[in-house]
């Protein structure tokens, strides 16, 4: 809330979710799930850390290089999360018969990851498509384009309100 709007918008719309590394890396999974769970946990951690550091690098000063790195990191993050989504779906579907507690735990973790990560990917892509590096949200910019337009209804309403005040003042003076 206290950061510059453009920076805050970029960071909060960029890929990364710190919930996944603890969920995927804190357990000793069975050999069936161990490798894919480690991959998902480590890659999601990498995406979150890269996103954080790339945005920290633009906190004080921005340049063409930081802009390119940020966009590159954003695209990398989205692609990495899409790849992990596919991996999670494959692992989930190919291990339907697992009945050990730790395997059920792994499958529930994967199920939540598949659902929530899909939603996150949609938000990150939407953020990437709608945010301008310097100006922030282009979608919302359209809302405010008419503010300086004399034909804009907001400006007209302000003018009418001021007219009422002026008329009232004249009436009082008379």
């Amino acid at each position: 809330m206290v950061m510059r709007l453009a920076w805050e918008q970029r960071y909060t719309n960029a890929p990364g979710n710190i919930v996944w590394p603890p969920l995927f890396l804190a357990y000793h999974w069975s050999s069936t799930f161990n490798v894919p769970m480690l991959i998902i946990g480590i890659v999601t951690a990498i995406v979150s850390v890269i996103t954080l550091f790339l945005h920290l690098s633009t906190l004080v000063k921005t340049s063409t290089l930081t802009r390119k790195l940020l966009i590159g990191g954003w695209i990398f993050g989205i692609i990495a999360l899409i790849v992990l989504e596919v991996l999670a779906i494959i692992v989930y579907l190919t291990n339907q018969s697992s009945s050990e507690y730790i395997d059920i735990h792994a499958k529930k973790t994967l199920a939540i990851f598949i659902a929530v990560n899909a939603l996150d990917i949609l938000f990150w892509i939407w953020g990437f498509k709608t945010l301008d590096y310097e100006k922030g949200d282009q979608v919302r910019d359209e809302l405010f384009k008419g503010r300086n337009d004399p034909n804009d209804r907001y400006t007209n309403r302000m003018t009418n309100d001021q007219s009422v005040i002026v008329s009232h003042d004249i009436g009082t003076l008379n």
């Binding site: 809330m1 709007l5 805050e8 918008q9 909060t12 719309n13 710190i18 919930v19 603890p22 969920l23 507690y101 059920i104 735990h105 499958k107 529930k108 973790t109 199920a111 939540i112 598949i114 659902a115 929530v116 899909a118 939603l119 996150d120 938000f123 922030g136 949200d137 919302r140 910019d141 809302l143 405010f144 503010r147 209804r153 907001y154 309403r157």
Partner: protein, 116 residues
């Protein structure tokens, strides 16, 4: 100095969008944890959390739409919604932390997901 009148509105929009995302994550997480069965699980606490998540998502969806279509942006509106968001998030964390302990895999994963 030129004042950017769009900034408070854009900031509010951004915060409500993140809260909407949080609500959506909790709802999807809840249904994903239930998918393919929760046999033997007491799902009372996750059910309560899911209701709070629906309220959180609906509140912020309405707020996001309201910001997009309304001309004016009363600061009181932002603070009321923001405080409600914080209370809902705090309630979800508190309920899961105090009462959410579960021995079944679905409840355990959903609890950890909600808390983190």
């Amino acid at each position: 100095m030129e004042v950017d009148i769009s900034e408070p509105k854009s900031k509010a929009f951004n915060i409500f969008l993140r809260m909407l995302q949080l609500g959506g994550q909790l709802i999807l997480g809840y249904w994903a944890s239930r998918y393919d069965g929760i046999d033997g699980c007491d799902y009372t606490i996750p059910n309560i959390v899911s209701i709070l998540a629906y309220v959180l998502a609906a509140l912020n969806l309405i707020s996001v739409i309201g910001i997009r279509i309304a001309d004016k942006f009363p600061r009181a509106f932002f603070f009321v919604i923001f405080i409600l968001d914080l209370l809902l998030a705090a309630a979800i964390i508190a309920i899961q932390a105090i009462k959410g302990h579960s021995n079944c895999a679905a409840g355990k994963v959903f609890r950890e997901f909600s808390l983190i």
